[in-house]
Every structure is written in C-alpha cells, then in structure tokens.
Amino acid sequence: MAFDNETTLWLSGNEAIALGAWEAGVRVASGYPGTPSTEIMENLSRYEGVHAEWAPNEKVGLEVAIGASFAGARALATMKHVGLNVAADPLFTAAYTGVRGGLVILNADDPQMHSSQNEQDNRNYAFAAKLPMLEPSDPAEAKQMIGRAYELSEQLDAPVIIRITTRIAHVKGVVEKGARRGTPEPSIEKSPAKLVMLPGNARVRRVAVEKRMQALRDLVETLPENRIEPGTGTRGFITSGVPYNYVKEIFPDAPVLKLGMVWPLPEKMIRAFAATVGELIVVEELDPFIETHLKAMGIPCRGKDLIPNQGELNSFIVRKAIVPETIGEIFAPLDLPMRPPNMCAGCPHRGLFYGLSRMKDVFVSGDIGCYTLGFLPPLSAMDSCVCMGASIGVAHGMAKALGKQGEGKVVAVLGDSTFMHSGITGLLNMAYNGTYASVIILDNRTTAMTGHQENPASGKSILGEPALALNIEELCRALGIRRVSVVNPHDVEATRKVLKEEIEAPEPSVIISRAPCVLLPEEVKRQKPVYFTNLDNCTGCSLCVQMGCPAISWTPLAPEEAVARGYREKQKGFARIAEVQCNGCGQCACVCKFEAITKKEAK
C-alpha cells in the first residue's frame, strides 16, 4: 500500500469526518463536546473556510446549523447520543422546514457506555423524526458518507443524520484525501410558508414529509451505500455500521447485504436478498432496529435471539452467538485490584468533595463531568447523577418533597460547562420558586472531562482566540440568587466553612468553587511547589489518604514494624507522597494536623 504521500492519510473516524465535511464545502459547524464526538469539531475548526464553534449545548448547536442552512450554506451539527436528546426539539421540526444549504447532524452513539451515562440507540430518532440516516463502517466510509449526506440533504430537502459509534470515532484507518467542493454563496431568501412552523403551515409540511419519505424509499433501493456482497453458503447476513466488519471477519465468504442507510430501509432489496439465502441473520449493535422492521415486513429472520441487545459487539461476541464451535482456548481472567479512573493529583474538585464527604447527612445531587468521580471511594460524596444540568432541578425537587426536614441537607454540584449547558434554567427555577437548597458550581475554567474544550466562561474561542468570559457570579445574581460566594477549593478548611454556612442557609445560595484544572497547558507549565511527607511526624491518622489523591499512598505497619520505625506501637501505618506525581495543590497539607506534610519550593 502506498502510504507515504500527501493524499493517503491515517486518520481517526472523527478526523476523517472533519475532512469529509471540509471537502463537502461545509461553511458553518456548531456542536457541544461529548465523547466520542468531540474531535470532529476540534479538527474542523482548523480548516480554512469553515466557521466552527462550541455551542453552550447541543440544542443551540443544531439551531445554529439550521440557521446556516436557511442562509444557503452547508452546515454541520455534532453531538454525542445523549446530546441528540437535548437537540431533539429543533430536530423534529427541522424535518418539516427542510433545508436550503445541506444540513447534516453527526450523532455519535456510545455502545458499552465507555464514557456515557446511558446506552441509547439513536437509530430510533431517524424513525421517529422521519429523517434519513446513514451509518458508516470505518473511517474511510465515514468520510465518503459525509459527502453523500450533503448531496441527499439538498436533493431531498431534508436534514440527514449520520450515526457513528465509538469504534468509528476513535478507530484509525487509511483514508484518501480529496479536494474541497465549491458551494453557492449564502444569501437571504425568504420562504415563510416553509420556514414558519405555525399549525397552518406545519400541516402542509407534514404532507411534504410523507412525500419525501416515499421518494426516499424509492431512492434507497439503488443507493450505492446499500449493497449486496454475493457469497456462498446458505447463511446470509444483513448488517450495517461497525458490526459489518465483524460479519466480514468471521464469515468472509457469506452473502451479505450491507446497509449504508439504516433508515428508511430498502424493502425490495431486502426481500430480493432474503429470497436467495436459507437462513437470514441480522447482525446489529444495541436495539433490534433492522430486525423489527424486517419482521414488520413479514420477512423471517434471526437477530437478537442470538446477539445481545446490550453493550458493544465485537467479532468474538458475534462468533460466540453464531459459530461457537470456532472458538479456541480462552484463558480465564484473574481476580485483580481494579483500576477505575480517578481525579488527578492536584485536582481542585477533590478539595471541594473532601468538604462534602465530611457532611454525611447532606444529599449531594451530582452532575456529569470529571467531578462525577467524587462518587468513588474514598470520598464517596455524590448521591445522584442523571443527565447534564439535572443536579439543580433534582436538588430543588428533593427540597420541595422533604420540606422542613431537608433543611441544610440538600446541595447540587455541577461543573462550569455543565452549568452553562443546562444548569442556568434550573437555577432560575430555584430563584423563582424559592428553596433552601444550595448549588455548587465547580469552575475549573474548562470543560475537562471531554479533553479541555473552551467554553463561554473560559475567555477563549474554540481556536484559542480571546472571547467572552461569562461572569458566573453576576449571572447568578441576575437570576435572583442573593447569596453568591466564591471559594478556593485548595484551601480545604476555608471551603468547608463556607460550605457549611451556605448549605445551612434558608434561602437559595450558590458557591462557586474556583481553581483551574491541573491539566490545562498553562497549569502544566507553571512552576509549582511539591509537598513531601515528614515521616517522623506522621501519626498514621490517614486523613490525607482519605482524600484519594493518586500521589498519596498508605503503607500498613505491624506493631513491631511501627516500633522499629520509632512510631507508637498502635500506629497502623504511614502515608507517603510520591513527589513525581505531586502537583503541588497543598490540599493534603491543609488537612494534616501534625505538620507531617511540608512544602518544598518549585519543582
């Protein structure tokens, strides 16, 4: 394979999609970060001729893309699967208005929940919103399908959804680069009957949607992305997306109907294929989406009776489901200490959660971000987490249900990006309807969990250029919150005091816990002090160990060993800081009452 040249590239699915969008002539792209979709926007922002931006949430992102399309530009909105829930409102009605410039919604599902709170199968959205959906099988196809999606979008006057999964987004493969396509200049063109979705207009468009679906059903029969790969044997497969690879891997010679478009389905093609095979098996990840529609067509097939409807597939799972006799010896796993993710050494969130971990009768209504790791032991300081922004509504609802008995015991915790994503309206609700619950905003100056994206409070655009830095305190006050305080979470004691006071206050309060994420490039570069343990002073109280910092470890001691080291016989062990891992936050020195943790100046 000729690899060493300018046009054959080695790209991840997300890089390939960004390239595909650029080649397709996309002018405007908006999205909100979310694994596994994030790198698409990051890459696209670096191409000439594209305005790419981080929106505060997916609904805004899709609305921006719709607007660009109304102006005649090709536009892209990107999001992870749960992001499409947030953007579902504009999605369903954009199906009615249709498009002017091509409009593509890039949706990334996360089977197995590698980095997600649920495992929904967003093919169901294509069915429910009556929109076409394409599904690639690898990075090269993802790039090609982006181009096809824009053609179809303009041809059919419809938004087109592309569904990828983690094993497209974060899989690297060989991709051929093409040229950027010319597209018409954007302009204002009014067509209110088509774009103003009042009931009278919408009823007319409702009919257009059905007509379009009919046209699509004809078109998919000859769409090159749907193809029959002839083969031998009586067993035939219908598959799409990543699972296509697993079928090819295990059954290289079997007949396969590969669906590049998963909605609507090419019924005639499916019937013709089914007629040529003895046993028809649908191999698909998550829901029995194709299978259900096949059964509705009256086509007998097997599918989820063999293949799990939960979790990510791989060739092994498919093999086990269909040809278990081909599995050789598999060694059993060993029982080993787990290594779950943890907050980094020096993470500002730790200081805050340490405070909350000391308030055992307070219910901590949590949210989604790095700080969700505050749930894990030893801090164990989060009691619920539903979806982005939910912490505030949940805390408010709990307080309303608990009444007096919950006073001083309900607090919401969420990150800065999460607050701007969908926490602001919840806070407005608290101010409007009144509560004693408190809200903690963990302002680490970035969207850390998804890899440090800029956001409306970080002061920089997606390209790192100067931008608005929202003043969170002023916003909270403007929403009607009178008690707003700011703490430095590395000062563990002062933070605890403020937490106690504010959580006990009888009116809504906001505590902004502000310190930059230690992984931000400017923080990584900053000269920081390092802390070390004076082992002579350590009494083995283990308070520092209970903070769960990865730089601090515990060495247990038998009584003889304790004595030999000059400790009291009763001392159960000692704590030690691994200086190479220390990021110099000083939180542990704050909690140590025995002067056993000391600062050493700059690394």
Binding site: M1, F3, K172, V174, S315, F316, A332, M338, G548
Partner: protein
C-alpha cells in the same frame, strides 16, 4: 514474514500508550500493511486502565482484537499485563514494563499488590519479556520517553526494521524531542533479550 497480526497495548491513563500504538501503526503501514487501531478517549483516561488495539494484515475489517488472539501485548504496568490474560494465547509474547503503579485500593491500604503475578502468564506458556522502561528512559535523560522505550523493546518481535521506526519517530514527534526519543527506542530495543 507474518502476514497479519494483533498487537494489544495496555497501561494506565497518562502513560502514553496512544503515542506508542501510533508509532507502531505507522511502522506497520510503512511496511506495507493495512492497519486499523482502536482507542478509547474520555472517562477512561483519568488514571484508569487503558488499552489500544492494533490489527494489521492485507485487509483489516474489525478494529478490535478478539479474546485469545493478541499475538503481542505491550503492557506498561505489571497488573495491566495480567489483566489482559484472556486476550492472550499460548504463543503470545508479552513485553511488560516492570515499574509498578499502585491501583487506588492498594494505595489506600485496602488491597495488596499481587506478588510474582507475572508467573501466571508464564504458567500458560506465554513468553514474558520484562523491561524496566523507566530505567531506560532515565538512562537517556528524559523520563517522558518510557512509551518509546517500550516500543523499542516490542520492535524486536516485529519484522519491520528499526530504521523504519526511527523514521516514523522523526515524523511523529516534535523536532526538539526526536533525538532523545530515537535514543530511547534504541535503548529499549537493546534492553531486552529476545
């Protein structure tokens, strides 16, 4: 020369397994193979166990290695080597960095770090190739080259010539770090007995 194969990388978030797998992928591409590589980003990177799957051959479909099918495991930590036992087979080779990183339960004193756990691999007739990659990185004067030292050690078990890897390193890392990384590669390659 082997016409296809599966290389699994495992380690702890932050150890640089992405770069290691990337260098290996480029070397295999340069050797004329089709390659697919799979990684997980996001939550998994915060100090948890991480893995990358690399498959090469004439035409690669699946981006994931099946259990029982990893020919080479490049493990950046001992526990992260034995954790992947179900992916190995009787003629697998495991290149393993012997520097321990304590998992949280061990650091908290709630569990012990298993002793002599690499024997579990040997008892399945798996070839275990230990390397103190931290010491190698130290010897070239840059602790951040542990991952490239690991690639060097692993390269002994691939057909691609060292020169291919050195060229790949030149292209993949910033010019000011190219020399030290190439040194780490060569030192890692020399540090293990084949």
């Amino acid at each position: 020369m082997k016409q296809s194969g599966n290389i699994l990388f495992s380690g702890v978030g932050g150890q640089g397994i992405l770069l290691a797998s990337e260098l290996t992928a480029h070397a295999q591409l340069a050797a004329g193979f089709d390659v697919k590589k799979s990684e997980v980003h996001g939550m998994a990177q915060r100090g948890g166990s991480v893995e990358a799957h690399l498959r090469y051959g004439k035409r690669v479909y699946s981006p994931l290695i099946e259990p029982g099918a990893a020919d080479i495991l490049v493990a950046f930590e001992i526990l992260e080597a034995v954790r992947y036992l179900p992916y190995l087979h009787r003629s697998s080779t495991v290149v393993v960095n012997t520097r321990k990183i304590l998992p949280p339960a061990v650091a908290l004193g709630k569990a012990a770090y298993p002793e002599n756990i690499l024997d579990e691999l040997k008892s399945h007739h798996i070839k275990v190739v230990p390397i103190d990659a931290f010491a190698v990185a130290e010897s070239v004067g840059e602790l951040r080259t542990v991952n490239v030292a690991m690639v060097g050690a692993m390269s002994n078990f691939l057909a691609a010539a060292p020169a291919i890897f050195l060229k790949v390193i030149d292209r993949a890392v910033k010019p000011q770090f190219a020399e030290v990384n190439k040194k780490a590669f060569s030192a890692g390659r020399a540090a293990v007995r084949v």
